[in-house]
Amino acid sequence: MDKLMHDLKTQIIEQLNLQDKKPEDIGDDEPLFVEGLGLDSIDALELIVLMQQYYGIKLANAEDGPKVFKSIRTMAEYITEHQAKKA
Protein backbone atom coordinates (compact mmCIF):
# COMPACT_ATOMS: atom_id res chain seq x y z
CA MET A 1 0.00 0.00 0.00
CA ASP A 2 2.87 2.40 0.84
CA LYS A 3 4.47 1.94 -2.59
CA LEU A 4 1.11 2.41 -4.32
CA MET A 5 0.50 5.63 -2.36
CA HIS A 6 3.96 6.92 -3.27
CA ASP A 7 3.39 6.05 -6.94
CA LEU A 8 0.02 7.81 -6.85
CA LYS A 9 1.59 10.97 -5.45
CA THR A 10 4.23 10.99 -8.19
CA GLN A 11 1.63 10.36 -10.90
CA ILE A 12 -0.71 13.05 -9.55
CA ILE A 13 2.10 15.62 -9.46
CA GLU A 14 2.99 14.81 -13.06
CA GLN A 15 -0.53 14.49 -14.44
CA LEU A 16 -1.88 17.57 -12.68
CA ASN A 17 1.21 19.74 -13.24
CA LEU A 18 1.77 20.35 -9.54
CA GLN A 19 5.34 21.40 -10.19
CA ASP A 20 5.64 23.17 -6.87
CA LYS A 21 4.94 19.92 -4.98
CA LYS A 22 7.01 16.86 -4.13
CA PRO A 23 5.54 13.47 -3.16
CA GLU A 24 6.55 14.04 0.46
CA ASP A 25 4.52 17.28 0.54
CA ILE A 26 1.31 15.29 0.10
CA GLY A 27 -0.01 13.57 3.21
CA ASP A 28 -1.56 10.10 2.86
CA ASP A 29 -4.77 11.26 4.52
CA GLU A 30 -4.69 14.90 3.44
CA PRO A 31 -7.86 16.01 1.60
CA LEU A 32 -7.19 16.29 -2.12
CA PHE A 33 -9.84 18.92 -2.83
CA VAL A 34 -10.53 22.44 -1.56
CA GLU A 35 -8.41 22.51 1.58
CA GLY A 36 -5.34 20.27 1.62
CA LEU A 37 -3.97 19.88 -1.89
CA GLY A 38 -6.57 22.31 -3.28
CA LEU A 39 -7.52 20.41 -6.42
CA ASP A 40 -10.46 21.58 -8.55
CA SER A 41 -13.14 20.03 -10.76
CA ILE A 42 -10.85 19.73 -13.79
CA ASP A 43 -8.32 17.94 -11.59
CA ALA A 44 -11.07 15.51 -10.62
CA LEU A 45 -11.48 14.61 -14.28
CA GLU A 46 -7.71 14.18 -14.58
CA LEU A 47 -7.77 11.80 -11.60
CA ILE A 48 -10.42 9.70 -13.34
CA VAL A 49 -8.20 9.60 -16.47
CA LEU A 50 -5.16 8.75 -14.30
CA MET A 51 -6.90 5.74 -12.72
CA GLN A 52 -7.87 4.49 -16.15
CA GLN A 53 -4.49 5.19 -17.74
CA TYR A 54 -2.22 3.76 -15.04
CA TYR A 55 -4.42 1.15 -13.37
CA GLY A 56 -7.02 0.25 -15.98
CA ILE A 57 -9.80 1.13 -13.56
CA LYS A 58 -12.90 3.01 -14.65
CA LEU A 59 -14.87 4.72 -11.94
CA ALA A 60 -18.12 2.80 -12.29
CA ASN A 61 -20.32 5.28 -10.46
CA ALA A 62 -19.65 9.03 -10.60
CA GLU A 63 -21.28 9.39 -7.18
CA ASP A 64 -18.41 7.38 -5.70
CA GLY A 65 -15.99 10.15 -6.76
CA PRO A 66 -15.98 12.16 -3.52
CA LYS A 67 -15.33 8.99 -1.46
CA VAL A 68 -12.68 7.55 -3.80
CA PHE A 69 -10.83 10.83 -4.31
CA LYS A 70 -10.98 11.97 -0.70
CA SER A 71 -7.27 11.31 -0.13
CA ILE A 72 -4.30 9.39 -1.48
CA ARG A 73 -5.15 6.56 0.92
CA THR A 74 -8.78 6.24 -0.26
CA MET A 75 -7.59 6.21 -3.88
CA ALA A 76 -5.04 3.49 -3.08
CA GLU A 77 -7.66 1.45 -1.24
CA TYR A 78 -10.05 1.70 -4.20
CA ILE A 79 -7.32 0.66 -6.64
CA THR A 80 -6.22 -2.27 -4.44
CA GLU A 81 -9.80 -3.44 -4.03
CA HIS A 82 -10.49 -3.34 -7.78
CA GLN A 83 -7.19 -4.96 -8.71
CA ALA A 84 -8.00 -7.80 -6.27
CA LYS A 85 -11.43 -8.24 -7.91
CA LYS A 86 -9.77 -8.42 -11.35
CA ALA A 87 -7.22 -11.03 -10.25
Binding site: L16, L18, D43, V49, Q53
Partner: protein, 205 residues
Protein backbone atom coordinates in the same frame (compact mmCIF):
# COMPACT_ATOMS: atom_id res chain seq x y z
CA UNK B 1 -13.44 62.26 -24.86
CA UNK B 2 -10.91 61.98 -27.65
CA UNK B 3 -8.50 59.05 -27.55
CA UNK B 4 -5.63 61.53 -27.07
CA UNK B 5 -6.73 61.63 -23.42
CA UNK B 6 -6.19 57.91 -23.21
CA UNK B 7 -2.67 56.93 -22.35
CA UNK B 8 -0.64 53.78 -22.37
CA UNK B 9 0.53 53.92 -18.78
CA UNK B 10 2.47 50.66 -18.92
CA UNK B 11 3.60 48.17 -21.53
CA UNK B 12 5.16 44.74 -21.50
CA UNK B 13 6.61 42.90 -24.47
CA UNK B 14 7.73 39.30 -24.10
CA UNK B 15 9.63 37.98 -27.12
CA UNK B 16 12.98 36.46 -28.10
CA UNK B 17 13.38 35.13 -24.55
CA UNK B 18 13.34 38.67 -23.14
CA UNK B 19 10.86 40.70 -21.12
CA UNK B 20 10.73 44.39 -21.89
CA UNK B 21 8.63 46.64 -19.64
CA UNK B 22 8.08 50.28 -20.53
CA UNK B 23 10.96 50.20 -22.96
CA UNK B 24 13.47 48.57 -20.62
CA UNK B 25 14.61 44.97 -20.69
CA UNK B 26 13.83 43.64 -17.23
CA UNK B 27 14.56 39.96 -17.84
CA UNK B 28 16.81 38.13 -20.30
CA UNK B 29 16.38 34.39 -20.52
CA UNK B 30 18.62 31.63 -21.78
CA UNK B 31 18.02 31.51 -25.54
CA UNK B 32 18.79 27.80 -25.70
CA UNK B 33 15.77 27.00 -23.53
CA UNK B 34 12.41 25.86 -24.87
CA UNK B 35 9.41 28.19 -24.75
CA UNK B 36 7.80 26.32 -21.79
CA UNK B 37 11.07 26.39 -19.83
CA UNK B 38 11.61 30.08 -20.60
CA UNK B 39 8.11 30.93 -19.36
CA UNK B 40 8.69 28.93 -16.18
CA UNK B 41 11.96 30.83 -15.67
CA UNK B 42 10.11 34.14 -16.05
CA UNK B 43 7.55 32.96 -13.50
CA UNK B 44 10.35 32.03 -11.08
CA UNK B 45 11.93 35.45 -11.66
CA UNK B 46 8.64 37.17 -10.80
CA UNK B 47 8.11 34.85 -7.82
CA UNK B 48 4.38 35.55 -7.47
CA UNK B 49 3.49 32.33 -5.56
CA UNK B 50 0.59 31.34 -7.79
CA UNK B 51 0.80 27.54 -8.27
CA UNK B 52 -2.10 27.59 -10.75
CA UNK B 53 0.40 29.02 -13.23
CA UNK B 54 1.86 25.55 -13.74
CA UNK B 55 -1.50 24.22 -14.89
CA UNK B 56 -2.03 26.86 -17.57
CA UNK B 57 -1.35 26.26 -21.24
CA UNK B 58 1.41 28.26 -22.94
CA UNK B 59 -0.90 30.97 -24.27
CA UNK B 60 -2.36 31.56 -20.81
CA UNK B 61 1.09 31.50 -19.20
CA UNK B 62 2.41 34.06 -21.67
CA UNK B 63 -0.53 36.45 -21.34
CA UNK B 64 -0.72 35.98 -17.59
CA UNK B 65 2.98 36.76 -17.13
CA UNK B 66 2.65 39.85 -19.33
CA UNK B 67 -0.26 41.08 -17.22
CA UNK B 68 1.71 40.54 -14.01
CA UNK B 69 4.54 42.76 -15.27
CA UNK B 70 2.03 45.28 -16.61
CA UNK B 71 0.14 45.66 -13.35
CA UNK B 72 3.10 45.52 -10.96
CA UNK B 73 3.69 49.07 -9.73
CA UNK B 74 1.67 50.63 -12.56
CA UNK B 75 -1.92 50.01 -11.56
CA UNK B 76 -3.82 51.48 -8.66
CA UNK B 77 -6.35 48.71 -8.16
CA UNK B 78 -8.04 50.51 -5.28
CA UNK B 79 -8.99 53.38 -7.61
CA UNK B 80 -11.26 51.15 -9.68
CA UNK B 81 -14.23 48.85 -9.25
CA UNK B 82 -13.85 45.23 -10.42
CA UNK B 83 -16.02 45.93 -13.48
CA UNK B 84 -13.97 48.98 -14.51
CA UNK B 85 -11.11 46.94 -15.95
CA UNK B 86 -11.52 45.31 -19.34
CA UNK B 87 -9.26 42.99 -21.29
CA UNK B 88 -9.06 42.89 -25.09
CA UNK B 89 -6.51 40.51 -26.56
CA UNK B 90 -5.68 39.45 -30.10
CA UNK B 91 -3.50 36.99 -31.94
CA UNK B 92 -3.16 35.12 -35.24
CA UNK B 93 -3.47 31.48 -34.27
CA UNK B 94 -6.13 31.49 -31.58
CA UNK B 95 -5.56 28.48 -29.28
CA UNK B 96 -4.10 26.30 -32.04
CA UNK B 97 -0.97 25.43 -30.05
CA UNK B 98 -3.08 23.79 -27.34
CA UNK B 99 -5.67 22.48 -29.82
CA UNK B 100 -2.89 20.45 -31.42
CA UNK B 101 -1.59 19.21 -28.08
CA UNK B 102 -5.10 18.19 -27.08
CA UNK B 103 -5.67 16.44 -30.40
CA UNK B 104 -2.56 14.32 -29.75
CA UNK B 105 -4.17 13.01 -26.53
CA UNK B 106 -7.56 12.23 -28.06
CA UNK B 107 -6.71 8.82 -29.52
CA UNK B 108 -5.71 7.47 -26.08
CA UNK B 109 -6.85 9.44 -23.05
CA UNK B 110 -8.25 12.89 -23.90
CA UNK B 111 -6.82 15.31 -21.37
CA UNK B 112 -9.49 17.37 -19.54
CA UNK B 113 -6.88 19.89 -18.39
CA UNK B 114 -5.76 20.51 -21.97
CA UNK B 115 -9.33 20.60 -23.25
CA UNK B 116 -10.23 23.54 -21.02
CA UNK B 117 -7.56 25.63 -22.75
CA UNK B 118 -8.80 24.96 -26.29
CA UNK B 119 -10.26 28.46 -26.52
CA UNK B 120 -8.08 31.57 -26.81
CA UNK B 121 -10.08 33.65 -24.34
CA UNK B 122 -9.17 31.39 -21.42
CA UNK B 123 -6.03 33.51 -20.99
CA UNK B 124 -8.34 36.44 -20.28
CA UNK B 125 -10.15 34.36 -17.66
CA UNK B 126 -6.86 33.53 -15.95
CA UNK B 127 -5.93 37.23 -15.73
CA UNK B 128 -9.42 38.10 -14.46
CA UNK B 129 -9.35 35.36 -11.80
CA UNK B 130 -5.94 36.47 -10.59
CA UNK B 131 -6.94 40.15 -10.34
CA UNK B 132 -10.70 39.87 -9.75
CA UNK B 133 -11.44 41.88 -12.90
CA UNK B 134 -15.03 41.70 -14.12
CA UNK B 135 -15.09 44.24 -16.94
CA UNK B 136 -15.85 43.74 -20.63
CA UNK B 137 -13.50 41.34 -22.34
CA UNK B 138 -12.96 39.92 -25.79
CA UNK B 139 -10.42 37.97 -27.82
CA UNK B 140 -10.05 38.67 -31.56
CA UNK B 141 -8.08 36.78 -34.18
CA UNK B 142 -6.27 38.73 -36.91
CA UNK B 143 -3.71 37.71 -39.48
CA UNK B 144 -1.25 40.10 -37.88
CA UNK B 145 -0.94 42.65 -35.10
CA UNK B 146 -3.67 45.23 -35.65
CA UNK B 147 -3.06 48.27 -33.43
CA UNK B 148 -5.58 50.43 -35.27
CA UNK B 149 -8.34 48.00 -34.32
CA UNK B 150 -7.19 48.11 -30.69
CA UNK B 151 -7.14 51.90 -30.69
CA UNK B 152 -10.66 52.08 -32.06
CA UNK B 153 -12.24 49.19 -30.15
CA UNK B 154 -10.69 49.83 -26.74
CA UNK B 155 -11.04 53.60 -27.21
CA UNK B 156 -14.73 53.05 -27.93
CA UNK B 157 -15.23 50.93 -24.82
CA UNK B 158 -13.67 53.57 -22.61
CA UNK B 159 -15.33 56.53 -24.37
CA UNK B 160 -18.71 54.85 -23.97
CA UNK B 161 -17.97 54.22 -20.29
CA UNK B 162 -18.27 50.46 -20.65
CA UNK B 163 -14.93 50.24 -18.86
CA UNK B 164 -12.50 52.77 -17.39
CA UNK B 165 -9.22 51.07 -18.15
CA UNK B 166 -8.07 48.16 -20.25
CA UNK B 167 -5.34 45.60 -20.68
CA UNK B 168 -5.06 45.12 -24.40
CA UNK B 169 -2.66 43.82 -27.01
CA UNK B 170 -1.31 40.73 -28.70
CA UNK B 171 -0.56 37.32 -27.17
CA UNK B 172 0.52 34.58 -29.54
CA UNK B 173 2.06 31.12 -29.15
CA UNK B 174 2.47 28.43 -31.76
CA UNK B 175 5.18 25.82 -31.34
CA UNK B 176 8.51 27.56 -30.84
CA UNK B 177 7.14 30.90 -31.98
CA UNK B 178 5.66 33.29 -29.46
CA UNK B 179 5.19 36.98 -28.76
CA UNK B 180 3.21 39.04 -26.32
CA UNK B 181 2.79 42.81 -26.35
CA UNK B 182 0.40 44.13 -23.73
CA UNK B 183 -0.63 47.69 -22.95
CA UNK B 184 -2.36 49.15 -19.93
CA UNK B 185 -4.67 51.92 -21.14
CA UNK B 186 -6.19 54.48 -18.80
CA UNK B 187 -7.31 58.08 -18.73
CA UNK B 188 -4.20 59.72 -17.44
CA UNK B 189 -2.29 62.97 -17.50
CA UNK B 190 0.94 61.11 -18.19
CA UNK B 191 1.95 58.21 -20.36
CA UNK B 192 2.21 57.50 -24.06
CA UNK B 193 -0.70 58.47 -26.31
CA UNK B 194 -2.95 55.51 -26.95
CA UNK B 195 -2.43 55.53 -30.71
CA UNK B 196 -1.84 52.76 -33.21
CA UNK B 197 1.55 54.15 -34.16
CA UNK B 198 2.75 54.15 -30.55
CA UNK B 199 1.54 50.59 -30.03
CA UNK B 200 3.32 49.54 -33.21
CA UNK B 201 6.60 51.08 -31.96
CA UNK B 202 6.35 49.26 -28.62
CA UNK B 203 5.39 46.00 -30.35
CA UNK B 204 8.57 46.08 -32.42
CA UNK B 205 10.94 46.86 -29.54
Amino acid sequence: MDSTYLKITASCVIADHKVCCNGEVVYKGDKTKSVPDFLTDVYTFLDPTYPKFYKMDLLAKLGWLGSEFLLNDHFDKAAYREEDTGIVLTNANSSLDTDQRYFQTVSEYPSPSLFVYTLPNIVIGEICIRNKFRGENAFFVFEQFNPLFLEQYVGGLIRNKVIRNCICGWTEVLGNSYKSALYLVQESASGIDFRAGQMEKIYGF
